[in-house]
């Protein structure tokens, strides 16, 4: 086989695929062929690089040149210039927004500097559809090591020593969970991978399954051996077609190689994995609801205990772990519990993957050691707030979490610190908000989500959240009375205390944490009838300053509802009863005569 002297890694995650990475790959291959380089240069589709903001990403190996926002038309130039002439294509390199310097190598980018990649170790490095590349990166060695050299108890001890805690949000110690399932006596047990990633704005698990599906399969098999299960089930939402496709390919390849199936590594251990599809209900991320859904029942949670480790899928002991938790297992087995526990904080070990989204410059997928501060994540890795605006808050933990503010920025991120600050780790969604975001509307958005996603089994969640949402609606419409804020808080606390499962117990969190941190904003809505962020339409009025208006008629021409009237060259006026507050006039006005009050 001829040796490839260059590899071109093209990100083929969902985000970059949406930006035509497939065409980039095709055009690169075509250009290589035309220049007789197809035997010397290999084009590889990889999983997500994480730097989604600047996608599609193309990385040249071995010189590690990191091209961003590449289009299919650039492919030819990359081949002719970079590969043949050895000249970097400067216009496609990343420019540090602060120093305006060109950074050609990802290692020197602020976005990557503080990251440590364990769960994402192979994302953006290997071709997820090729088991050989996974094996070349020590893939399935951890499974081999455990099966051949360790007893289940010894393997569980490694996981316990590592201090790994569930990455799905709860933070339950993984080793302990495995041990409890091992201790349950039963002929048949199950390993379940929870890939029902439901938080708005979260895409960690999807990216891992798309970028490195074998790591999850390997870890599930390790778990099967440790707890005494021969069947693994991946519960994944049907909205993740690419992840499902890559997972299916991975399962097929692993079976072909004998790494799943009967008598793995000749040890007599049998393990196979099947896929179960979810319809994308948020509540099915809760393990009992997830199990019911897999059984073909309504996705409703039941009271714990009994825990799934005692009675789970088909009444048998079941171990449920999240995708990211599983992705951490093989490196822990290979490098040891101590290695893993040397990273992170006292009670939260290792790293955590976050999906950074919202008003931040570098939207993307990052993995940082536990104990990194929010400031480092948002400003160093995330590159600060878009458009130089002021940071206002960051929502962690999705609809179950809370928002953190300026004064929380220097708190080291770990499970316990986030809870102490009134939010939670959750699965790792991180949505950044700036001064233009109204916190009442933000809480309302999350409540809309929980109302929609509530399964309806228990009254506090079904009815309570609906009422909570109505009260928030009233506030944003400026129709709330002063006593409503007390009612709002009381109701939120009742829902929290009396709901059956985690969904209801945490759904008021966005309301409570915004009330705690942005009380003045709530007060402004209720008492003054004003939205300080200028987001609540019902509380805004567009007006034209008659001194500044020159009567150019531009605004009246763009107004979609003909709310603006006035003669040419005389000041215009807005009829507020007709105005739909779309803002089109303000955008068009060249004289700054239109403002919001």
């Amino acid at each position: 086989m001829a040796k490839f002297k260059n590899h071109i890694l093209v990100c083929a995650g969902t985000g970059c695929r949406a930006s035509q990475c497939e065409e980039i790959v095709e055009n690169l291959k075509l250009a290589l062929e035309q220049n007789g380089l197809n035997k010397e240069v290999q084009v590889v589709r990889t999983g997500c690089f994480g730097f989604c903001e600047k996608g599609p990403v193309v990385k040249m190996v071995p010189d590690n040149t990191f091209y961003v926002q590449v289009t299919p038309d650039d492919a030819n130039e990359l081949v002719l210039e970079h590969l043949i002439k050895g000249r970097k294509v400067n216009r496609l390199l990343y420019v540090n927004p602060e120093t305006k310097e060109v950074v050609s190598d990802s290692k020197h980018m602020g976005f990557y500097k503080k990251q440590i990649r364990i769960a994402l170790r192979n994302c953006g490095f290997i071709n997820p559809e090729n088991i050989d590349e996974y094996i070349a990166r020590d893939g399935y060695s951890a499974l081999g090591k455990v099966l051949v050299e360790k007893t289940p108890e010894e393997a569980i001890k490694i996981i316990k020593d590592s201090g790994l805690r569930g990455r799905g949000g709860g933070g339950f110690p993984t080793g302990l969970k495995w041990e409890l399932t091992l201790k349950s006596k039963s002929e048949q047990k199950y390993v379940v991978c929870n890939a029902d990633e439901g938080d708005p704005g979260a895409f960690m698990d999807r990216s891992i399954l798309e970028g490195d599906p074998h790591s999850v399969l390997e870890a599930m098999a390790i778990c099967g051996y440790c707890i005494g299960a021969d069947t693994g089930l991946v519960y994944i939402r049907a909205e993740y077609p690419l992840a499902i496709q890559r997972l299916k390919i991975a399962i097929e390849q692993a079976r072909e190689y004998g790494l799943l199936g009967k008598d793995i590594f000749g040890t007599g251990f049998n393990f196979d994995v099947e896929i179960r599809y979810g319809a994308g209900a948020f509540v099915c991320g809760e393990e009992t609801a997830l199990i019911h859904s897999m059984e073909g029942l309504r996705g409703e949670p039941t009271v714990k205990p009994p825990f799934p480790s005692v009675r789970g899928y088909k009444e048998k002991p079941t171990n449920v772990n999240n995708v990211e938790t599983f992705a951490n297992i093989p490196p822990i087995i290979l490098k040891g519990g101590e290695w893993f526990s040397s990273i992170g904080t006292e009670k939260s070990k290792g790293t955590k993957v976050f999906a950074l989204a919202g008003k931040v410059n570098n939207v993307g997928l990052i993995e940082v050691p536990m104990g990194t501060t929010l400031r480092e994540v948002i400003f160093d890795i995330g590159g600060g707030i878009k458009g130089g605006k002021k940071f206002k808050a960051v929502q962690t933990g999705g609809p179950s979490g809370g928002c953190l503010t300026e004064r929380h920025l220097d708190i080291p991120i770990d499970y316990d610190n986030l809870i102490a600050s009134g939010s939670m780790m959750g699965s790792g969604g991180m949505i950044v908000m700036d001064e233009d975001d109204c916190m009442v509307s933000m809480a309302k958005f999350y409540l809309e989500f929980t109302v929609e996603e509530s399964c309806g089994k228990c009254a506090p969640c079904r009815i309570g959240n609906k009422r909570l949402h109505e009260m928030l609606e009233k506030i944003t419409l400026g129709k709330a009375l002063e006593g409503d804020l007390i009612k709002l808080r009381n109701l939120a606390n009742v829902i929290k205390d009396t709901s059956l499962c985690g969904l209801g117990q945490t759904s008021p969190n966005p309301v409570l944490s915004t009330m705690d941190n942005f009380n003045d904003e709530y007060q402004a809505h209720v008492k003054d009838g004003k939205c300080p962020a200028g987001q609540c339409k019902a509380l805004m009025h567009y007006i034209i300053d008659s001194h500044l208006c020159v009567g150019c008629t531009l605004c009246s021409r763009v107004c979609p509802v003909d709310a603006i009237s006035g003669e040419r060259k005389t000041p215009h006026a807005i009829d507020t009863s007709v105005c739909i507050k779309c803002g089109a006039c303000m955008e068009k006005c060249k004289f700054g005569a239109i403002s919001v009050q």
């Binding site: 002297k5 071995p62 002439k85 050895g86 970097k88 990166r137 081999g144 190689y257 000749g266």
Partner: protein, 129 residues
Amino acid sequence: MAKVKTLDDLRKMKDELKNKITLREKADDPESLVQIKVSMATCGIASGAKEIMNYFIEELDNQNIDAVVTQTGCMGYCYAEPTIEVTLPGEKPLVFGNVTTPKASEIIEKYIKGGELVDGIIPDSYNTF
């Protein structure tokens, strides 16, 4: 491909497959390896830079020397093509001119393996930014 029946099978397979991605692994940490840049402008290509580049890639691989060989743009020494720049870990880069295959072999044997200077060095008279 044969099924993996034992842990040794997997280890063997890993060793065979390793070279599929070593290029990427090396690229992650080039500073600790021997880096060779081959000037691949028109003059370089015309003088056989590509053959020299292939020679380095194959020879270093055969001798199991961890190195990263990349192409680079014109270095300006068109009179001395093919030119290459060799950076040993922790050392300053050195530029060699008129690199033929025997010269390349000499560079590997003497400079890369032993740190011994050989003829053909072009003293640097420029600053890089």
